[in-house]
């Protein structure tokens, strides 16, 4: 029997796995009629999920944690049994602002720590506090930007203005001079570069080499009541993700995403993030970052609890939630490796043996304990070499010097 599912998404390249699952038959093979609901703000995506207009959503991982903790309008326990991607973000700044930074962009992107310090100096040279667009307070982008700025002593709440605006309005806002730069998921950074309005300053993959980005989120109660639908969808998504990672399908995928009912941007811009060939300044040859965005390899979809806890630690760090062990447990429980394991029990997907790991501890590809098949984890280090131990959150937090 076919199960109908409605999933809300935002027009972004990292909706790819959902789009491929629908358009290339992976959902249908599992008996799922997948209906993708295009949405233009994270607030509306959240409301459609929380109030039951859709069963699932392509959601910013920190937003899933925030809604569960009651930090974003109506509190609702959410559950994320699947990560749709890691990485895929880019910080771009107006060309004028970027003049104060390392001029050779390949060097600039390769050295985020040096660039953060250059950025701190550039703030002093700018005629006012730079206004940086972020897509949401509870986004991987905003969290990574804060983490990166703070490393150079920049207080993101005092030394710059963070302005929230949806990805699809970023380029327009750059054009109108309302913002001096922004960090967002692709293809929006590339669109601003292509328009000659901005150039790349940092890419997410160099700040945290395996940065958690979008998850597939459900209401927890719905997830518990519909195991069959969830398991079938997860099996379809794992196969769609492998398809998306395969370079042979890149053109097809870019053209699919370019359609007006999905991202509605030119295929050649979308293709940049998929191939990792990022044009950092208009007219220059692409800089290749093979890990710019990952969908399926290295068990990318596996929702490590430690990653939900890392997100939680950052919310605590910026005073968005008060730390206590019960809250930490609730935040960690948003990621559901148990459901992922159940859904893919009979598949040949390599399955990590553990549900938590040290985040940032893998410096070069590492073979790890897996219940089945070979699993190699790619490097997941943070640019500042910190390691997050999910069992020792207090110690980790104490390691950050207070900015104020």
């Amino acid at each position: 029997m076919t199960i109908g599912l409605r999933i809300a998404f935002l027009p972004l390249t990292d909706a790819a796995v959902l789009v491929a699952a629908r358009e290339r038959g992976f959902a249908e093979e599992e008996g799922i009629a997948l209906d993708l609901v295009r949405t233009t703000s994270w607030a509306t995506l959240r409301d459609r999920l929380v109030y039951g207009q859709v069963q699932g959503a392509h959601m910013l991982a920190p937003l899933a944690v925030a809604v569960t903790l009651g930090l974003s309008q109506q509190p609702a326990p959410l559950a994320a049994p699947y990560k749709l991607n890691v990485n895929g973000n880019m910080l771009v700044m107006a060309c004028d602002f970027a003049k104060a930074l390392e001029p050779v962009i390949a060097n600039r992107l390769a050295d985020p720590l040096g660039t953060a310090h250059d950025f701190a100096a550039a703030i002093g040279l700018w005629r006012r506090k730079p206004v940086i667009g972020v897509v949401h307070r509870f986004s991987g982008h905003a969290i990574m930007l804060r983490y990166w700025l703070a490393s150079a002593g920049v207080d993101p709440d005092r030394d710059v203005v963070l302005r929230v605006l949806p990805p699809s309005l970023t380029v327009e806002a750059m054009h109108a001079g309302e913002i001096d730069g922004f960090i967002a998921g692709e293809p929006w950074g590339s669109a601003a570069v292509e328009a000659g309005l901005a150039e790349a300053v940092a890419i997410g993959e160099r700040i945290w080499r395996r940065g958690v980005e979008k998850v597939l989120a459900f209401r927890e109660s719905w997830l518990e009541e519909n195991p069959q639908a969830v398991d079938r969808l997860l099996r379809a998504l794992v196969r769609a993700a492998a398809w998306c990672d395969d370079p042979a399908h890149r053109d097809d995928l870019a053209n699919l995403l370019a359609r007006p009912d999905y991202v509605d941007q030119p295929a050649y811009l979308i293709e940049r993030a998929l191939s990792g060939g990022i044009v950092a300044r208009a007219g220059e040859p692409p800089i290749v970052s093979p890990d710019f965005m990952l969908f399926g390899r290295e068990a990318t979809p596996f929702p490590w609890r430690s990653q939900a806890l890392w997100i939680y630690s950052q919310l605590v760090l910026w005073g968005m939630v008060d730390h206590d062990p019960a809250t930490a447990t609730r935040a960690g429980a948003v990621f559901r490796p148990d459901i992922f394991r159940r859904a893919l029990a009979d598949s040949n997907v390599p399955m990590p043996g553990a549900s938590m790991k040290l985040e940032g501890a893998v410096a070069s590809p590492l073979a790890v304990g897996s219940r089945r098949g070979e699993l190699t984890l790619g490097p997941d280090s943070f640019f500042d070499k910190r390691v997050f131990d999910p069992e020792r959150i207090e110690e980790f937090l104490a390691g950050f010097a207070p900015l104020r």
């Binding site: 607030a43 459609r48 974003s72 949806p166």
Partner: protein, 193 residues
């Protein structure tokens, strides 16, 4: 009670404003979500903010509601979380409402109900307008196909239309589809017109 309507569509905002006026509310302001709309809104200190659920600027508004020091009281979506039917109707209609803390739900509910009715009425007008537009363009296509037939086969207008209709019935298609196919074929064959 001060009500601010944030809407990209000036027409829908007017339709809503008019309804609220008729219902006796007189402190109503319309703010388009462009440029520095958040600062304007902050100065207005509204009790209720009504916004199109489909507006991409909702994230910007919510951020302001979270961080603003100018607003004395927090604002939450939907004043009565237990009223699921109301919330469902609002979301179906595409209305999001932000209400200051402490405002009694009996005072807010009529505003929300009115917004839902007006949003639905507006959506109906819009779809009727779209239908009328497409009917008009269908008519133009059929007229052109008729004149091709009249010229090429020396038919009267009535006979040309009858021919199109018969072809459509035989092929199980709409008349406009057959007309479009005829125009395309005629263009390809250099039939002109």
């Amino acid at each position: 009670m001060r009500i601010v309507i944030i809407d990209d569509s000036g027409l829908r905002a007017s339709v809503l404003e008019e309804g609220l006026h008729e219902a006796g509310y007189d402190d109503i302001h319309i703010v388009p979500p462009r440029g520095g709309f958040v600062a304007r809104l902050e100065r207005m200190a509204p009790d209720v903010v009504l916004m199109d659920l489909g507006s991409p600027s909702r994230d910007t508004l919510e951020e302001m509601l979270t961080v603003s020091r100018a607003l004395a009281r927090p604002i939450a979506m939907f004043v009565d979380q237990s009223d699921e039917a109301m919330i469902g109707a609002a979301i179906d209609a595409g209305v999001s409402a932000y209400v200051v803390d402490g405002l009694r739900k009996e005072r807010v509910k009529p505003v929300l109900e009115l917004a839902v009715r007006r949003f639905n009425a507006f959506a109906k007008i819009q779809s009727e307008l779209d239908e009328a537009r497409s009917a008009l363009s269908d008519r133009k296509v059929i007229d052109r196909a008729k004149s091709i037939l009249m010229n090429q086969r020396s038919l009267s207008e009535q006979d040309a239309y009858a021919l199109l209709r018969t072809a459509a019935m035989n092929q199980g298609k709409k008349i406009v589809e057959v007309a479009q196919a005829l125009i395309t074929a005629s263009d390809l064959l250099g039939g002109g017109l």
